[in-house]
Each structure stands twice: as C-alpha cells, then as structure tokens.
Amino acid sequence: MAGDLLVVEDLRVYFPLYRSLLERLLGRPYKIVRAVDGVSFTLGRREVLAVVGESGSGKTTLGKAILGLVKPVSGRILFDGVDLARAKGGEARRVRRRISAVFQDPYKSLDPLMPVGEQVAEPLLIHRMAGRSEARRMAMEMLEKVGLTPASEFYWRRPHQLSGGQRQRVAIARALITQPDLIVADEPVSMIDVSLRASILELLESARRELGVSVILITHDIATARVIADTVAVMYLGRIVEYGPIDAVVEDPRHPYTAALVTSTPSISRRRPPRFPVKGEIGDPANPPPGCRFHPRCPLALEECRRVEPPSASDSGRTYWCLNPLGPGGLWRGVEA
Amino acid sequence: MAETIISVRGLKVYYYTLSGVVRAVDGVDLDIARGEWVTIVGESGSGKSTLALSMMGLVLPPGRIVGGSVLFDGVDLTKLSGEELRRLRGKRIGVIFQDPSAYLDPLRTVGSQIAEAVLEHGVASSESDAWRIAEEALEIVGVPASRARAYPHQLSGGQRQRVAIAAAIALNPDVLIADEPTTALDVVVQARIIELLKGLQRRRGLTIVMVTHDIALAGEVSDRIAVMYSGRVVEWGSAERVIGSPLHPYTRLLIDSVPDLWSRRKVRSIPGEPPDPRRPPSGCRFHPRCPLAVEECRSRQPPRVSAADGWAECFFAGEAGGGR
C-alpha cells in the first residue's frame, strides 16, 4: 500500500550455530538457527505494532533487521518506499535517521563515560542536523520533555548517577531527538521497576500522539503490549502465527499459541478465559518441527498439521496461520486437555 | 487457622557495605501457616529475597541478622549453629531460585545430583533407593525419568527449573522457598511450573513462600500476600482482600501501575522513585511518593492497623482513602 510507512516482505534472518571442534573434525554440516523465517507485515503511520511471542521466537532479531544491525538472508524491508538493503550513501543515511531504537537494558545502552545530555545530542551531530550549540539546546528541551527536570542539571550527569527509569527516559529522548518516523523499542520496560513502567509506556504513547511516530514495541508481555499497541504480531519459532488488531487478537484469538499465551498471562481480573493447555517446553529454532511449528505442543493439532505448513487465513481483520483454528469465542469456552 | 510453621518476629537483616548500612529487612513480623502459599511482592531492592531466605536461616555476608527471631516449628533459627541449620535446610526447608543453572553442577547428571542430596540427608539408605527416589521426584515434576541421566545443559530452561523443584521436593520438606522461580521463564512455561507447585501444595500440604515482583501472579496463586516496601512489610492479608481492597496506598498504587491483560483500565506509574535503602525516608517510608501523606507521615512510623485477616502500616489504612 502506498500510505504504509514500513513494509516487511518474507524476511529471513539465519545465524550459523556454533559447532564444537569434534563436530567440525567429523565434517558435520553447519547448523543454522532460523531466527526469523519468513515474516511479512505492514506498519502504518502513527501505528503502534506490538511484537510478542515466546523467548527465542525471533522478536529481537526482527527488530535488529529493521534497524540494520543484522543482515537478512532474503526478503525485503521497505521504509517509506525505499528498500533498506538497496539504499546507498546519502539516501541510506537519510532513511536511517528516520528510524530510532530503544533497547532493553538502560544500564548498558548508554555510554558509561559520557554525560547523558551529550548522548541525547549526539544523533543530531552524527546526522549533521544541528551545530554543537543548537544540538545542546535541543537536547535540553528533549530532556525536559521526557521529564528529566531541571534539564540543565541532568544534562551533565553520567548514566551511573541516574536510576534505571531515568536512564530509559534518556534513551527515549535520544531516540526522539531526530524526529524519527519509526521507533523500534525492544523490551523497553522489562528491566524497569514495575511501579515505573507505565510512565515509560506513556512517553512512547505521547510520542505517537504528539510527534506522529510509529512504534514497533517488542515485548514478551502481552499485557504491556495491550496498553499502547494498536496491532499485534504473535511470533512462534521465527514466524508470525497471528496478526491483527490487538483487542481482537487478545479477546478472540484464532491460533492456539495465541490462546495459550493470553490465558497463561497472570491476571487479577475476574473476567478472564480458562487456561488453554499446551504441552512440552519451548521450541528450538535450530530444529523447527516440520509442518506447523506449533503442532508438537498443540492440543488441537490434526494429522495434517505434522506435514502441511499452514497457509494464511483471514477472519474479521486478523490473519492467522493455522489449519484448525479456534472458532469465534472459542477462547472463552475452553478446551478439554 | 491452621498451625503456624514459620513465625518471624521483629526481624532485622542489615547489609554492612562500604557505602553504608543497607536495611534490607527492618522490623518484620509474619506468621505463616502450615500448608499455605504466601507470596512476598514488592519492587526491586525492597528486601523480598533477604526476607525469604532469612526464613531458612540463610543470610549472605555482608548481611547480618541484627535483631528479632525466626521460629521454624518452634525452633529459633537465629540461634542455631551452621551445621544444625544445614541439616534443617534441604530436609525440612527446600529452596529454588530464579536461575537453576547457578546451583546445578554442569558436569554431573541431574539424577545423580538429586540422588546424592537424598543420600546425604538420610532420606534413603542405599544408592539404588536414592536413585529411585530421584526418578520419582523427576516424574512428579513432569520430567520423564529417562531424563535423569541428562546433563543440565541438555535440558531447556523450564526443564531445569523442574529439576530444581524435583531436587527440593525429593527430600519431602515441609516448606519450599521459591525466589522468583519463574521470572526467567516464558509465560506459558511459567503457568505450567506454577500449576506444578500448586499441585504440590494441595496434594502434599507443602508450605510455599514465593518471592515475585509480579503482583498479578501473586494474586492468582497465593493464599496470602505480604507487600514489602523499603525493608518493611507494609501490608499483609489474604490474596483476595489485598488485591480486591488494599488497605495501604502503596498496594493500591502498585496494582494500578501494572497493566492487566483482561481489564482495560488505565495504568499510572507511582510518582517518584523507590527509596535508597541506605537512607530510607523518615516516618512512613512511602510518604515521599504517597498522595495521601500528611505531616504526621513524615515524622512517625505509622501503626499497624488490623483488618479482618491482616493489617497494613498506614495512618489511613482504616479509612476509605486506602481502599478502593
């Protein structure tokens, strides 16, 4: 679609797996981890897309591919119509500065030696968007905006003089200062004190509201995702298994893994569906099962799920990849284990 | 109420560090009944782990118990020798941690590690008995007995945590202390581990003391909840009551700050930052962040206000302001 900010088409990112010396001597072939294995989606302007899924399902790798930190083996990433893999020189730099990142660990994602204000100003200098004094002034303003006041004092602090929540605010200020169109936020709250997480989410939300940025929010916690996301992509072993408006996907999922995910999430709400039972431990992306990758754990698996890769299907706005999906309202009726 | 198995009285555990004295646990009283599931919740650094581990007499240096007592089945753990404590642990009180790899020996099969503990504590008399008990324990936690000959690295994170639980329950303890047992696990795996623990509690009458920062998880599984803030238990009561009508403003704000998947209420962070445990605020330690705070909160430690099934340490606990 013309209006979409980001289009990801059949993206694949593989990593070679470490082989022991013995395995090498025996001439065993390279094993590969199919961290992201055929992912497609589109992201609109001002849209917040949550990417949720099991540990090791490839969420972080997907984010890194969009940020240009890992190289896909195939597939395309179109940002505002520009193919990120093909863009060169000036065009590449112009596109790159419209994409920012916020990482999980606020203790490690800032340079320990540099005053935090300088780090917020740095993207402006890197992209030659402002001179030194102008950059400093804008960084002060941005620190103010993310709630680090008085900014003139925070500007000169080093990361170790800030709390985890404050550091994450610095990271967000740094991400916003170039006025990007897209922020990729990988687990931005999972290392923050629970009582402070909401304010970090609120910062991202207001960036969307006031600055019109789109956000890809990578998280393992679908409850966090539901706070600010419009759409959700549920990943399992390198693939998206269900995709759609987050309310629809959470309340009335089609894919059994989504059902397991939402019903396993702890909740103190009275109104909640019964637990959807799954077997086994988490999947291994180095040895994905044939057919539907979820079939060994799925209580609804059919014989053909072992052989056939499920095609995509759509149902009232959501897309899912499953041969034997839950019906409408199926989540609330429960399943016999 | 059932018989009390652990009774904590006026407990103070301080860490003597180079940068000052950390009052990790600073005057805590709790009574834990046999067979119940108690969860300690609170923010990072509030002293949850320190409190839970001191319930089995485990205080790591530079920490010291500087006051109070911990009665386990009537015996004061703070007065026992290291050897007596060691025998008590494992045999009567088991423990599991967030990262099971930290105490599983990577070079030995998981079965032999469990069997060894079983022999050492005299639960079995022969090696073959011990091995049989180890295999049974693994079956109970849902690890096939054939996996007893696997090395830790051959198991997934969830399976390793199951092995850790198996090692703890093989000795048939009365109490299991679980410090963030599922924090490192995926939610779907977490749900199954929690179900497993719940089953053990029901079927064997195991007493469980769990530590977590996830108040929704606490609300789901526990019988009673202790809410910690800056070294003190500020609220104590049945899970239903603590979650449903919290007495302490901190509890209420904490619940309101975490998103819940099934209710679309707005989440709001608690203003301010958690206090520095080396310099806790005067009076009520929550007062700098509390919307209800008055002058008195600054200067005086609030009294313990009792409710039907517990209490809260707040001047306003009895009034509408504290509840919902």
Binding site: R97, F103, D105, K108, S109, D111, P112, M114, E122 | -
Partner: protein, 291 residues
Amino acid sequence: MEGGLFSRLMGVVAGLVRGPGGLMTATGLAIITMFALVAIAAPWIAPYPPDVRPPGAGLLEPPSLRHPFGTNDLGYDVFSRIVWGARVVLKVVLLSSLMSMAVGVPLGLISGYYGGPLDRLLSMVMDSLYAFPGIIMAIAVASVLGPSTFNAAVALMVVYVPTYYRMTRARVLELKNEPFIEALQAMGAPGWVILVRHILPNAAPTILVVFGLASADAILTEAGLSFFGLVAVYPQPDWGLDLYYGKNYLLDGAWWLVFFPGASILLLALGFALLGEGLSERFRVRGGSYG
C-alpha cells in the same frame, strides 16, 4: 569550566589514589615523580659534572659525605652520574612508550572494530613480533640504527607496539558487544565516531594500565640496550652503561659502581609496575563498564 587544568588533574589523581589499589598507584606515582624531578632538576641537584673528575676526587672512592655514591674508575662522581642518567632513561622510555601507544592503540582500535582481513593480517604480524624475546629484538633493531637515544626509543617502540595493540584490540572486542555500541550503530553513527568518541574513552583505563606495565618492562629492556652501549656513548651518564663498566671492578670490592645504577633501574621499573598494577586493580574492581 570547573577549575584549571592543574586542579582537575589533581582531582583525578586524588580519585585514583583513594580507590582500590590506591596504595600501589600512589607509591608508583611517588617513585616516578621523584625520578622525574631528579631528571628535570639535574643541573641543580648533581654536585659535580657527570663526566669530569672533580678536583681532589680519587679513583674508586667508596661512598662518603663528599661522594655519597662513591667515585668510579675515572674518578667521576657516581651520584652525579645517576642524577644525569635519570634524564636518559626517562627520555628513552617515555618517548618509546608514547610512540608505541601512538602506533599500537589506533591499530588495535581499527583491527578490533572492523575485523576482517586487515585484522587477521595485523594480528599475525603483531603476534610474530610479540613472540620474539623483547631484548633480542631491541638489540637487533638498535644495532641496525646505531647508538642514540632516539634510535633506542625506536627500537623499544618496535618491541612494545604489539603489547599495546593486543590489549587495545582485546578491549575493543569486549566493548563492541556492549549494547551502547549497538545503540550507536543503530542510530547510524560512522565507525570513526564510535571509535574516537566512545570506544577510545572506555578503553583508556586499559591503555593506562598497559602504559604502566609496559613502561616498567621497557625500563629493563632499555637498561639492557644501554648495557650494550646502544643508547649512549661513554662518558655520557647512562645507568646501563655504568653497570657495564662498573662490573669490571666488582671483584675489587667496588660494589657501589653496580649497586647504585642497578638499584635505580629496579626502583624506577618498580614505580611503573606499581602504577600499572594499582590502576588495573582499580579498574577491575569497578567492573566491566567502569560504571
């Protein structure tokens, strides 16, 4: 900004001296400073010229009030020779350390950060240089270049470049995996910005430690060079050279001819070694990211 350069420098020093390993750092700095002051103030400290026999001085006089370190076979005052000799050794060692750093650190940064064929080539060259015994290589290079302080410094530089290179490269490999570097890459920062503004400052403590330890080693190697006459020419004052000529009189009981130059060499080397060890203690304790 806050205060002058001097007071800021003193602030840094005070910080180093107070932290862990501070006693070692402080002792090392004190020893080095003492020798540096002696070298700078040599004309005022030395009671006699180093290469002239003072009037009334005997040959091979044992230490006395007039000649605290005695006199040598030509009647020169040993104390004055030690004082002037400090200039030579400090000049050679500091010059060589700075040159090794100037070559080894940038190569280590580039090699570690960019990797690839250049990294493999450089690593191979440096490893083979490193495998040579330092003193033999220094002698080989210095003999080719001929005796002079500058040539000696160049010879020492060749010996210690691989040390700076390897340590810098190792630290860069560590830092390269830190999320804050990844964050910079994600924002499209060019390699040189990341290297100069972020990796170099974070690698600086490691480089300082190497500076201390490698300089300590370089002092011993320098002594070897000057022992073989590859730094200075007699009668220029030079510790290693004095050691060489002094050893001939050891059997005659003139112990002071070797003791004072030898002790000076060891003490100065100890100063640098303590500085290096103290710093490494200090920075290790503060953890990987020095946060």
